[in-house]
């Protein structure tokens, strides 16, 4: 039986949908398409795009390497410990990104309390951009993977133990495989969040063209000087983000399957 949608629900849903869709339409309508080719082939823009893609991809890889084990530890922790760990993980997600950038400066900056811990990710360097993006995007991967691991409830893991598989084999061959959809989905969310990162990046890594200027920073800067230029850059960012979504498709996210 098809469910009849109550009119109030339909109206609210329509408003919500329009709220998401209209700004994108507004952007696309105003883009000076005749200038698009010139803007996109501009050296500074290509530099910003390259830095954005390289840094977002690096942040995603780092998030995978440390985030999946972190998600596993949280998922397998006792409930009381899990609540505390999850709250700590979520802080960067709810923190205004600028505050995240300031926190990174106070920690890993020249006079930071742990300035020697990550000497390769100093402020105002490209690797500093990667650090800022990782700080902001990592929680998205962790919460996505943790939810999937917890949904398994450790039952397949227990069964694998009775088959003679040790803890490391069970992690690799059962837990990782069982949550592969969430790992891919979490990576995509992580990449998209890193790609759009602005506040923490500009605060920690600055806005140096060719070194730390990512596409969102270049777009914001262009908005003050040449709106048409900024519009083309916005569409470029939109296209890259859409490519991430298309790359995901429904096969990776069961929840999106109709």
């Amino acid at each position: 039986m098809r469910t009849r949608v109550p009119p109030a629900v339909a109206a609210a849903a329509a408003i919500g949908g329009l709220l998401l869709l209209l700004p994108l339409l507004g952007l696309l309508v105003r883009v000076p398409w005749s200038r698009a080719a010139d803007v996109i082939t501009d050296h500074a823009v290509l530099d910003a795009l390259r830095i954005s893609l390289v840094c977002s991809a690096s942040a995603t890889v780092i998030s995978l390497v440390v985030g999946v084990p972190l998600a596993w530890v949280i998922a397998r922790a006792r409930p009381a410990v899990r609540r505390v760990l999850r709250a700590v993980i979520l802080i960067p997600l709810v923190l205004p990104p600028v505050v995240g950038g300031i926190a990174l400066l106070q920690t890993f900056g020249r006079r930071g309390i742990a300035h020697d811990v990550l000497p390769f990710a100093r402020p105002f360097t490209t690797s500093g951009v990667v650090l800022a993006e990782t700080f902001v995007a990592l929680p998205l991967l962790v919460v996505t993977v943790e939810a999937a691991l917890r949904a398994q409830d450790g039952r397949l893991n227990e069964a694998a133990a009775t088959l003679g598989l040790g803890p490391w084999s069970r992690f690799l061959r059962i837990d990782l495989v069982a949550s592969r959809g969430a790992i891919v989905a979490g990576s995509a969310l992580c990449f998209a969040r890193a790609l759009g990162e602005f506040g923490a990046t500009i605060t920690y890594a600055g806005n140096l063209p060719g070194t730390t200027q990512t596409l969102p920073l270049a777009t914001y800067l262009a908005l003050e000087q040449d709106v048409a230029h900024a519009l083309v850059l916005s569409v470029l960012l939109l296209v890259v983000s859409l490519l991430v979504l298309v790359g995901l498709r429904d096969r990776w996210i069961p929840a999106l399957q109709s």
Binding site: A161, T162, L165, R173, A178
Partner: protein, 195 residues
């Protein structure tokens, strides 16, 4: 190979303190009402619940994790990874080159070897889970209502095949069941009290 155990499981609203012994090749049927602790008893023997002491031939395995107990377990909810083929499920954890065919054949599931677990019916999955438990020539076989989804006509032949395979391996079998035919096929019966 004699299995001796003191199973102690305790959690809010439930406690179990049970001694049991099973000789090599023997079958112990564990019966009792829902909630009497049949599954907890098997979990204790498997090393999945802390607080159980287990000796096999006088060797104390109480501190050994499940992966070092040489078990063959059929869980009530089977726990077959849905992405594996039946053959892969049977040989998981076994040395490279191990063959699933013989074990699948013994439980009447040879034709399912290449089928993905997620496409199998409940009864087919149960057969694959049984083949998986037997394939590692265990010294202790733990079966939690292993024939509940098998059609009546095939149950008795399958039961005989499973018990024969366990006898061949010299393994002790503990089977939690509500089925009188399982009890009749067992050498001894242990009745657990209600909580």
């Amino acid at each position: 190979m004699t299995v001796r155990a003191d199973v102690r499981v305790s959690r809010p609203g439930f406690s179990l303190d049970q001694h049991l012994e099973v000789r090599a090749g023997d079958v112990l049927a564990v019966i009792g009402a829902n909630g009497s602790g049949k599954t907890s008893l098997l979990r204790g023997l498997a090393g999945l619940e802390a607080g159980t002491s287990l000796w096999v031939d006088g060797r104390d395995l109480s501190a050994e994790p499940p992966e070092r107990r040489r078990l063959g377990v059929v869980f009530q909810d089977l726990r077959l990874p849905p992405w594996q083929s039946a053959a892969h499920a049977v040989t998981a954890g076994l040395p490279r080159g191990a063959h699933a065919h013989e074990w699948l054949e013994r439980v009447g599931a040879a034709h399912l070897a290449r089928a993905k677990v997620s496409t199998l019916s409940g009864g087919e999955r149960q057969r694959v889970a049984i083949a998986r438990a037997l394939a590692r020539t265990p010294r202790l076989v733990l079966l939690d209502e292993p024939f509940s989804s098998i059609d009546v006509a095939s149950t008795s032949a399958l039961r005989e095949a499973v018990l024969q395979a366990a006898r061949d391996a010299g393994a002790s079998v503990v089977i939690a069941t509500h089925d009188d035919d399982d009890v009749a096929a067992a050498d001894e019966t242990l009745r657990l009290g209600s909580r």
